[in-house]
Symmetry: C3
């Protein structure tokens, strides 16, 4: 069982896979000036889609997600984008917490993902 790394930089890899499970680095919006958390969440989930596809997985195979919001009042906005994204019948385990700050002050949402790779 070897370890596969994807988009490996000096601090982190965007994805790391081992033993059929892939771990994604906490994803944020591409455009940190995005006006609201609905749009930031959409962009974040698009990044997650891209990373999952590159690592032999997809959003129907997500196992566990941790969502960090900087303001729990945006829980509804995040969930609106989330519910448009998840695959009905294949929703993951999930925890959502409000933290005081993310790595950039502009970010209001960050999402960590653990997913299953395809076994074909």
């Amino acid at each position: 069982m070897s370890i596969q790394r994807f988009e490996t930089g000096k601090r982190l890899s965007e994805a790391v896979a081992f033993n059929g499970t892939v771990y994604l680095t906490g994803q944020v919006a591409n455009d940190h000036c995005a006006p609201d958390i609905y749009i930031q969440t959409q962009q974040t989930l698009a990044s997650i889609d891209r990373l999952l596809e590159k690592n032999n997985s997809d959003k129907s195979r997500v196992l566990m997600v941790t969502i960090y919001l900087t303001n729990m009042d945006t829980f509804g906005d995040m969930n609106r984008a989330w519910e448009e994204w998840v695959v009905p019948g294949a929703t993951p385990a999930r925890a959502t917490v409000e933290v005081s700050r993310l790595a950039g002050k502009e970010y209001g949402v960050e999402i960590s993902v653990t997913a299953a790779q395809r076994t074909t």
Copy 2:
């Protein structure tokens, strides 16, 4: 290796299992009016027991736990319930952090769990 999901709703599944490992959605107290964190933690751990049993695991097979408190001054209250619950000699890895808010303002503790399924 297929993915098993349990109590699957439109946002999340309460438990997701893959490759012998089960991930639980962050659990909170059933009664959010519970007067203190000792009782909230007891209720949270009872929910975890229920989900583990339904997913071919139990509290002696917990691997890793993340505990989110909204006030670290309740660390002792949480630990009192925790120590009454854990199986001596089979305690999991654990991280405890204080976050500024959970999904409901009434909640003072949320617990995420990764556990091993039975292999019989």
Copy 3:
């Protein structure tokens, strides 16, 4: 597939391994009076090294890390120690969030680690 636990106490085990993956309890600095987050991070990573070695793994096999800082202004200090520690070409997935408090008020950084064991 049995569960291996390491340095098991009444609340937690410092490391738990199952199915080739090892989970470490959130690590903090040994010396909580360490004057800055660069040094606290160095000490935390040294504890992680020790636990990984004891559990048939090492820093080149880290899969996913969650870093909790109590002040995101120390992100650069943490990263300085981090970049000196990680193995070039083998960096893990990583999420960094600012929480309002760790289990001890003196601590400014806590790190949770999931790693792959050696498969020899």
